[in-house]
Symmetry: C2
Subunit: 216 residues, 2 copies
């Protein structure tokens, strides 16, 4: 596969981790092809043998790029940041880079996994309460951290991977009826970011696989 072939994103419109990658591609101006993996239909297309050969973890996103297949959204985002021109998604200053990664990982390891589809399917009837609990727990920690690090965006005045993680997590919080008024900094950052074109074009309501009754 040639390095200049368009990347292929295996994703799902409502997957928050797929949305992270879509935002990164939009911010970097990277054209890509999308393959829908419907996480609900047919008991979940991520469970097929065919998709397991793409990502044995049975999750989206998975990205075919430059002849390799990468899973885990933050690995994909940092790979394109390191190999593609355009806006930098991690700051040059090592301390700021560390803060961007800390905030990204707080969301990607500390919140999102606990309200992931395969986890809440195991939780069953209590899934809304369970998800609210862990999103609230994470946001209670994130709010004071962002109060210290944020400028216009999560870390200072440049958009970064932290912002890419924040917006899809707030979208999930709203789906699970978390009261965002408790988190004024998160709420303000999210509103600012949603005005940016890269966050709009990548939004779950605007994807090729978005159902007609959910599109904007």
């Amino acid at each position: 596969m040639a390095a200049n072939t368009k990347p292929v994103l295996h994703g799902y419109f409502r997957s928050s981790c797929s949305w992270r990658v879509r935002i990164a591609f939009a911010l970097k101006g990277i054209e890509y092809d999308q393959v829908t993996v419907n996480l609900i239909k047919d008991g979940g297309q991520q469970r097929t043998q065919e998709f397991q050969s793409v990502n044995p973890m049975q999750q989206v996103p998975a990205v075919e790029i430059d002849g390799i297949t990468l899973c885990q959204s933050l690995a994909v985002i940092q790979y394109v940041d390191e190999t593609r021109p355009g806006a930098k998604l991690l700051p040059a200053d090592p301390k700021k880079r560390a803060q961007v990664r800390m905030i990204s990982d707080l969301i990607a390891s500390g919140i999102q996994p606990l309200q992931n589809l395969y986890v809440i399917q195991k939780i069953g009837a209590d899934k809304v309460q369970w998800s609210q609990h862990f999103i609230d727990r994470g946001f209670k920690a994130l709010e004071p951290i962002l109060k210290q690090t944020a400028g216009k965006y999560c870390v200072g005045d440049e958009i970064s991977m932290a912002d890419i993680c924040l917006v899809p997590q707030v979208y999930n919080a709203e789906r699970f009826k978390v009261n965002m008024d408790q988190y004024p900094t998160i709420k303000r950052l999210n509103q600012t970011l949603l005005e940016i074109e890269a966050f709009k074009v990548s939004h779950p309501s605007n994807q090729p696989d978005t159902p007609a009754d959910m599109s904007a």
Copy 2:
């Protein structure tokens, strides 16, 4: 705070994410001070107001370094890798770096959070079965990925952040009685890595806060 002050690691001997940081410090030859945060005693010292001012997420590790406080082990590891001399914990090649991050995140986002203390405390009586389920789920995905990427270590023949994540996760798997014979590549890599000095000195059985009946 001067940049050459020793870092302070707030950790716990048995915390797998604290162990990751200890391995990284040992591999880089970084001297540090340890402050014990006993996750069990007094209902959990991570819950105190005092510790929440260090890490609002009420988790270890947290590291004071170069005048800032960093939480999230992979952010700490990449920060010291970018700012300290010595062995490189991420390879120079972008594709290999991406694979290292993918494997690290598969563990740090896809497995560890689901068997974290604050999660299994919420699960209660079923916690062993729950933890086994999610570790097995993750290792079933990790095994074929490592079969493709591994040389002597997780990615090729150089020790990396992926190895730093692997060994503490296998330690947790063994605590939860996961049958490691199902995962020959993971088992082989773990055995190889445990022979290395940096993994030995950082081991949970060798820490200042290791209880007498658990030390080697």
